[in-house]
Each structure stands twice: as C-alpha cells, then as structure tokens.
Symmetry: D2
Subunit: 335 residues, 4 copies
C-alpha cells in the first residue's frame, strides 16, 4: 500500500458558502454568485478544488470563463454535478419521466452537462438521479423504468467518451424509493449499460442511509467498476444528515479511507456537508473537516505500519483488530 | 397476463408445526420429528407442499424414504433449504470462514444438500448465506471474502447442473452485515458466478428489511436472473418479524403478487412466518395466510380486469392507481 | 362505542393547493394567496375545514378578515399551526435557541399565533417544534434545553387559557434529533408544564417515523393527556413521506381510526400529504383520501358490529383478529 | 464535575463466558455452571463485578451460597436481572399476558427475584419486560395492557422497598413492539407507578435501536427519575448488535460517559456484548472493552480540563465542539 492519501486534494460543496453571508460580505445584495462563493471557499486553508452544479451554477455564465475565473480565485474544478431537482418538470422523473418529451429534455440537458464538464476540464460529470424513482406501489412499471434509465445513461455516456460519467446513488430522498438506491443496483446498471466511461461516486451519508458498510461498498465498486468520487460527511444512517466528518462513524470513516488507499483511489476528497442548514460558519466547518481527515489519514498510515492488523483481519479476529484500532486512535492518551 | 396465480401451490415452514404441540399430540415426548410435523402440516386446508431443511431435517433419515413418507402424508416437496446456523463452526462464516478447512466443510455439506434435493425430487436448493458477513469494521477483507463466496457458489452449482440453486438474501441478521444483503448484490454475485442453474428467492420481510419495494425487487430479479422462490409474510421493515401475510403491507403484497403474475412465476407460495415464537396455533395461522392470499389474488385479477390501472401506471399517476386499488380492495363496502 | 367517526370534518394542508396551478388558474401570476388556495380547496367534494399557518398565511392579512373570507369560501378553520422554519434566525432553535433574545422572539411570535387562533375562532394552536433539537453530540446541554422548552411552552399556554396548545412531534427532521421526537417525550413535557390547555397532535407518518404503532401512541396520549389533532397520511416509516392515506399501512390506519373512535376523538381528520412534491393534482388527491377514509370508517364500524373481535383481542389472539380483519376488509370479494 | 469515572467498577454479562469453552476448560462436560463462568470472568484484568440472571443462574442454587461462592472467586454482585424469555408461558407476555394466572406467575416470580437480589446484597433488580408487547395491530387492548404493566411494577416495587427496581427498555425484540420501548415511555410508566425505589437502566445499543442520542436519554432519565444501570456496547442502530464498546459510535459513547459523570452516576459500567454469538474469546473481548472505556474516560477528563468546550456547547457551536473533540481524541497523532 504505497499510495499516499495525503496527496489527494480536498474539495467541498460550493453552496455551503452562501451560509452566514454577513460573516464574509459586508454589503451583499441577495444571494452570492457561484464565483463569489468560490472566492469565499478559496479562503479555506487546505481547500484546493471544488465541484460545480449543472445547470444551476452555469446559468448566465460561459463555462470556459467561469472555470477560468474560479481557477484565478485559486481553486481547480474537481467535477461537474447534474442537478435535476431545480427543473420543475423533472419532479416526477428525469430519465424515467412518464412523458417521452420530458425524458428527452433530461437527456439533452445532461449532454449539455457533459459538454460543460469538458469545457471546464473537469474530470467527470456526476449523475445523482434523485428524481428517478417512485413514491407509491402501483405507480411505476419497474421493468420499463429500468430500461429507460439504462438507455438514457448509455446515450449520455456515448455523447463524449472522454468525459467520465459517475453515478451517485441515494435510497429514499426526494422520492420514497430511488431507481439507483445502493452500490449494487448502480453496479448492475453500469453493467447493463456496458460502456467504459462509467463509474460510481460514494457519498458516505448516502451509503449509511442505504444500510451499507462504507468500506464494503467501496470494495464492491472497485471489484465491478471504478470509484470516481468520494463524498465525505457523516450522519445517523436514517437520512442524509450532511454532518461534519467523524461526527458519528469515526471508525467506519477510517476504514473507508484505508480501503480507498488500498484500491488506489486518485480523485478528490469532497465534503458534502450542510453547514448552511443550521447556519454554521462554512469556512470554519470545512477547515474542521480537513483537519479531521488529515488526522484520520495519519491513523490509516499508522495502522498500515503496525504489525498485527492484517493478520487479525485474515483471522476475522475483531477483538484484535478493534484493540489495534482503539490503541492507534487513542493510545497516546496513555503515554 | 393469462398466468393464473390460483394454480400455484401453497407451501410453509415445517418448523412452525412444533408450536403448541399439545393441541395436536396428546402424548408427544420431546420435539416432534420432521415427519410428525409434516403430518400436522397436512391437516392445513389448502396446503399441498413444504420445504425441508438440510441437514437438520435429514439427520437420521434417508432422503428418499423421508420424501416418500412426507408424500404419503399428502404433501409434496417444494424445495430443500441449507441451514448453516445449526453448525457451530460456521458461526464466523460458511463460504467466507477465515479457516480454509471450515470453508471446505461448508462447500461439501452444501453439495450433500444438492444431492438430498435431487434424491427428494425437490426443484431447487435454497442457500441463505446467513453466516457469511461481518459484525465489525476492520474484521474482513471484503474483496477476498467476495471471491471466496463466488467460488464456493460456483463449485456448488457445478456439482449438479440439474439442481437449481436459489440464493435467499437478508441484510442484517445474524451477522450485523451480510455479504448477500439485497436483491442487487445477489444478482451481481449470480452474474459473477455465471452459471445457468442459479436464481433468487425473495422473502417479503427480508425485502422490506433491505429497504426495497417488493415488486421492484421482483422485477429486478426477473430482468437479471430467475425468481425461483417467494416467501410471503410481513413485518415492520426494521427486522425479520415473520408476521402473517397482509398484517402490515397489504398494498405492497398485492403489488408483488401482480408483478410475479406478470413475470410468470411458477413456483410455490411459501409462508415463512413464525407462529411458534409467540405460540400461535400453526394450523389456524397457515389457513389464515392461505385465505388472505386467495383474497389478494382475487384483488389482483380484478385489478387486471379493470380499465384504467395500466393507463394510470403509464402516467405514473398514483392518485388514479391508488383510487382504483382502494376501490378494488374495499369498494363493495360501499355498494 | 356509539361515537360516530362519519361525523368528523375532513381538513387538509392548504399549501398542497399551490400544486399544478395551471389546472385551476388560467392566468395566475406567481404563487397563489392563502385565500386563493382556500378557494381551490373548497372545490374538493367532502372537504369542510382547513388549518392556517402562522405567521406565513397571515402576513399582510388581518386574521379576522382572512378567517371571514375563508369561511365565505365555504371552509371553516380547524386550527392554526406555528411555522418556525420560515424564520431564518430560528434555524438553530426556537424555544431552545442558544441566544436568549432569539428565544424571546420565538415565544413572542408564538403568543401572536395564539392571538391569531383566538381571532380566527380556531379551536387550537399546533406547535411543531421542528427547529428545537440538535444535529451533533457535544452540541447541546440537554438539561438546560429541556428546561428552556418547558418554560417557553408554559409561558405560551398561560398567554390565553382559552386557546388549546397542541404539540405535534416528529423525530429526525429538519434537525437530526428533535427535543420532542415521540409521543412519550411529548407527554413527559406536557406533564412537566402542568397546565390544562395542552394536548397532542398525532401525525401518522411522524408516528411511523418514530417507530410507534399508531393506535398505541393514540392510547398513550388518551391515557396521559388529550388528543387534539390527527394528521392522516402514510409512508414507509423511514422518513416523513406524506403519502396518501392507506398507501402502505392500511391495517394500522384502520386500527388507529378504531382507537380514536373508542377514545371519543372529536376533532378534524386532517390530511397532511404532499401532492405538490411530485406534482399530483391536489383536488383529486384530497378526494381520494376522503374516499379511502370513508371506506376505512365503514370497516371500523363493521368490525365493531362483528362478534369475535373483542374476544380475540382479549386473548391477544392475532390469528383470529387478523382473520376477522382480512374478511371484513376483503370478504365481499368472495361473495 | 469532580466525580471520577475511573472509580466505577467494570461489570459484564456472565453468559459470555460460555463462549469458546475449550480455551478455558480442558475437559468440560456440557455447559459451564454460573460459578464456573464467574471463575472464568474473574480472570479478566480489571473486571470486579457481575450481574446474575433470575431465575436462570439461580436454578438449583441457594442465593446466599451462590453469591458467597462468586465473591470467593473474586467478583462482587452488581445486580440481578429478571429473565422472562426462558419461561415458555411468558412468550405472549409476562405482566401483560392475556391470562390472569400467567400474569400472577410473572409477578410472583419477579418477587422471588427481588428476594434473590436482597439475599445476594445486590443493589438492584433489573426488569427488561421483553415479552410485554405485541406483534400485530388488533392484537392488544393498549389501555388495559398499560394498566396491567403499571399495577404489576407497583406490586413488585412494594414487595421490598429496600431493593431498587431498574427498568431496562428495548423497542422491537423479541416482540415487534415493546410496551417499554424507549426512555420517555419508561419514565411515564415510572411516574404512573409513583414509588421511590424505581429507576432506569440504559443499554447503549437499545438506546440507538430506539433512535435516541445516548447522552440525551441519560439526561432525560436524570431529570425525571434515577439512572441505576448503564450497559455499554455498540451497534448500527437497526438492532441490538451487542458489539464491543467504541466499534461504531465512539463520539456518542464519550458524550454519554461525560453526561453520566456530570449527573454523578455511581453504579457499575456493565458490558452487554455478545462475544459468544460469533465465537470471540470472552476474556480478550472484555479486556478490550475495559481498555477502550479507560481511554474514553481519559478523553472525557481531558475535555473537561480544556477551555472552550463548555462555551462552544453554550453557543450550540458544533464546529468548535467537534474540533475540540477531534483534537482531544486524535491530537497527539500530530505532535
């Protein structure tokens, strides 16, 4: 395991920086622009990249100029993410909408997102198909919806083979049930599409929400496709809480970091947290996340440097591996 | 949809018939034998088939003679189900046990189960890999465990191509996390094994426990593999409650029956309920389940005979489909 | 049980009627006013009352005139509900906000809500303290927050003893944990406040979300306080889905209706569903809910008219009560 | 906060020591006796007390002699716990059984448990009313069951005012719904009983299972009753996993320890974990738990010694308190 997680860039959610505007802008009228939010994000110590949402952040902006302005502000673009929920006609579905003309709008909009990612030199376009699902029994013809989803993803992936398409799954929100709820369903869909420029984005809180152990989900993705994105945050497994890293599942986050180190993940470590929901300061919150993850990467490196962990795992000896973990996390409190 | 669900046989869990022994056996010493339980099951009006567990129900019995005696009692054998939890050395895993010799024992025992199914003329062997999973982060090398699971299933399926192997999934019990927790992970595994004599058994309460909509899980299985078994019961989605059919998710059960009718399911309708846990009478409980499912099949047939449901589903118009469903379920209360 | 549920008025969520505006308003500019939404709600066959939100629906309106205009439109006012989430400074808490001046604002705003309910001749003011909770361990001093909540509720209840204050609980949204998450915690708080003009509003989907059996929660409320409001809807117990009545928990809804009939509930049957989220027609959706509940009340009446159910419940004989229930729901499909 | 958690004794679950018998007993026939398990438990470094189950551990033993023999083995008795699930006629309920004669048996057996606790000089008798609940809607008359539960607890508490009765709650196992599912319902019941020798036992995994934040539940108990017992373990919030301390909710466990230090808890720190389920070595597992909790108590002491945490909590400033927590847990990895 020579792969060094300390070399991975830290990214974060741009919209968090609309939180507590008075703390940064003395005389802001209305909402900050994407560029203004990026300029505030650039003040975070250790943050070097961010994602942009399509179409939201691009409305009224030329992609090339927007990307240049953000890079001038000191941040690189780690990816572009499609946002369907901001388009009213997609409420009942994007690629699985019952109306063929709306499905076509969704596909064409997504192709424009592919173009935007390409123009921004972003490594991938993330698709969270949050609207594609159902709320009721007897609402959807599941076989037909599945085929529509697969066909649409294929058309989007074929649009530009040089842009990687990363599917981010989430089980139960905004729709009661999503068509892409968990790692394995997403991997089945990727297999059905059968194209090389597809992969998966794991969001830690979505993974918990899907009742998955994060490192197992990452291993399943590495085995069957490619891990293109990691969203770090935390929560209580019942919904998408968007909490700071390590707020609940410290051990599971450390295991996930060890797993992606093992599998050679080379993308950004992106914080998908919601400081804006309860009005936390987004700069301080992001710096806390960076500090926490740096500590956790040190724990991962110490675990790998220790004798005994690999042997304990080979024996599935949780008593020994738990002791090694607790000592490595907390040992120095007992000098 | 000409397929008639009223032609499917009803099966049930044999061990339920150890419940309330005094109500059936005046002078039973100790536990009833499998044959005695089958004789009691045969008194259930409408029950025609049952499953046997391997090795538990076969210990001290010749498979051919046991099957003949059960058929003489008036019940056919719908399948054989492997039971690993009764073997202490499999507590930490069967196909994924850290000890290679224990993995070998699990594979060899399962091959004997394949032979038993063949000797009983049972259509399939069900594998619920309940012990194959983990309780702790840092307990298991997920990639290696996945490969061990796939290799073992392949060896078992190759043992006798004429016996179908049906994988039954369940997310969180007895291990905190199972390697085969949900429909899509099971379908990924079946794809990795790549043999024709594999399929899936859906247990309604396991499906709810995995946060799946039952009819969607069935459609996903029909799309990617074969549905070989259906276990009907009910619960509150938080654990494997084993309640009577329709006790909670009436609408979802009716939708599942409609889906398997559509997909041409031809196996048994098996009740995997636990009347023994709280001492309910197993004969009355099974007859209640049969009566409920017959009512629900009538609802399915009436729904298919009505105008409007298919159109409503094509529009994903849940208001219309819900109205049609409620009227069809409850209409005649308002003559 | 001579109490007749068919005499209870049907109410619904006013904001649902902003959904699909084109279907009702040919030339609406922007969002409909509360009065316009009420006029649309009045077109629902069988709907006779509605709730108003404070301050949202009252902004720019005199309460007396607004109530008169709504009554002129043909609907009575069943209650007023406080809404804190629309006030940014309450994001981190209303009665439990760390800032004493913000807590004071929340209390004073709520007293104005009491006045508005009184001026509208609304029978009660509902308090859903959605902002009062916490997202993180080490975020809140629980003992101090509890005392602040109790003191604030007391001050509000004392403001006008003729206005009943009804507390609506919900476990995990918008805050990860609420201070008033379930029936029993709410009843403990009501006991701590110790005033007569307090009671509870049960929201079916919140009750499921809190892992409660609805009829048990209602019985606990009747035993320790007063049931002042019932919100009917449905969901999958993992979040507040806001689905149509009977979409999932048909049996549990029927049991709840039987329980409140038994306990003599005399308020409105209010539908707290979200047709606007996925763009369902709110008039058709509300009429479907009314039709479903009328069917369910008929089932309740038939259950009470049948022999055997009470005896089965006295024996805790679920097999018999389930058979009686299934026959009463579905029997006439087998003439 | 001068209270020192390092002075609290460590206790554990006696039955865990039946796990891996060969590792301790060279020639054990059948299951070990309670005294044999206690002798093995006594080999755990740092373990000083244990609980006994009534009637299970007392069958065939005189309480006074059993207690003396265990004390001779080097362990004190921290409490006695009632076990109803081992008595078949209680399957459908103990204090809430539909059969009055069975309810009487349950009450009389529990009084014998009170006597046993007194004879053992155990500080309290724990009641986990696991059988008192329901599986189905329409199975139970909730109001009558509640009254039966309250009356039975009162009779048991009155039997010997010198023995404290501690109620341990759990939401969904073995019954689908328990009558005592969470902290607040238990506190309501204690208030209804209205006697001084009642209190609550918090089991960490049960608290998570009930969707409660452990430190909030402890504060609610301290506010309304007495905390008489703490069971430490861990899990994934979906069931009673019985994992080692800190395996998942490190931060929440540390917060709980800080809360009970603040509230002056003076009982034992009892490990209710299940090493026997997957065959872990119970001595090594218990020593790992003791080591982990000692580390966590050090973290609590360091947090209390630091400036800033109390101020951050007063501001409900989760960013600051999370930073302080992470630094205190992991800081020394960055010297």
């Amino acid at each position: 395991m020579s792969h060094n997680l300390h070399n991975l860039p830290f990214a974060t959610r741009l919209n968090s920086f609309a939180s507590n505007p008075d703390a940064f802008w003395s005389d802001l009228k209305g909402k900050p622009t994407p560029l203004q939010m990026a300029q505030r994000a650039a003040t975070v110590e250790g943050l070097t990249v961010l994602d942009l949402n399509y179409p939201d952040h691009f409305i009224g902006h030329d992609p090339v100029e927007l990307a240049r302005a953000i890079r001038d502000a000191g941040l690189d673009i780690s990816g572009v993410a499609m946002r369907y929920y901001s388009v009213p006609q997609f409420r009942l579905g994007a690629f699985t909408n019952p109306d063929a003309s709306v499905r076509r709008q969704a596909i064409d909009l997504t192709k424009k997102g592919v173009d935007a990612a390409s123009l921004c030199d972003a490594p991938h376009l993330t698709l969270w198909m949050g609207q594609d699902g159902f709320d009721y029994a007897f609402q959807m013809d599941y076989a037909r919806a599945w085929d529509a989803e697969i066909e649409a993803i294929r058309e989007v992936a074929l649009h530009n083979p040089d842009v990687m398409i990363s599917i981010e799954y989430k089980p139960n929100e905004p729709r009661s049930y999503a068509l892409m709820p968990d790692a394995a369903t997403t991997l089945l869909a990727i297999h059905d599409v059968g194209l090389p420029n597809l992969g998966v984005t794991l969001d830690f809180a979505h993974v918990l929400y899907a009742d998955e152990q994060p490192a197992f989900a990452a291993a399943l993705v590495a085995r069957h496709s490619k891990l293109l994105g990691i969203h770090l945050n935390d929560g209580y497994s019942k919904r998408d809480d968007g909490l700071m890293v390590g707020a609940v599942h410290t051990v599971q986050t450390i295991e996930l970091l060890r797993q992606i180190k093992k599998d050679g993940y080379s993308g950004a470590l992106y914080f998908d947290t919601f400081p804006d929901v309860t009005g936390l300061d987004p700069v301080a919150e992001c710096e806390a996340n960076i500090r926490t993850v740096r500590h956790m990467i040190d724990v991962v490196d110490r675990l790998d440097a220790r004798n005994g962990l690999v042997d304990a795992i080979d024996r599935q000896d949780a008593v020994s591996s738990n002791r090694i973990l607790q000592e490595t996390m907390l040992q120095t409190l007992h000098p």
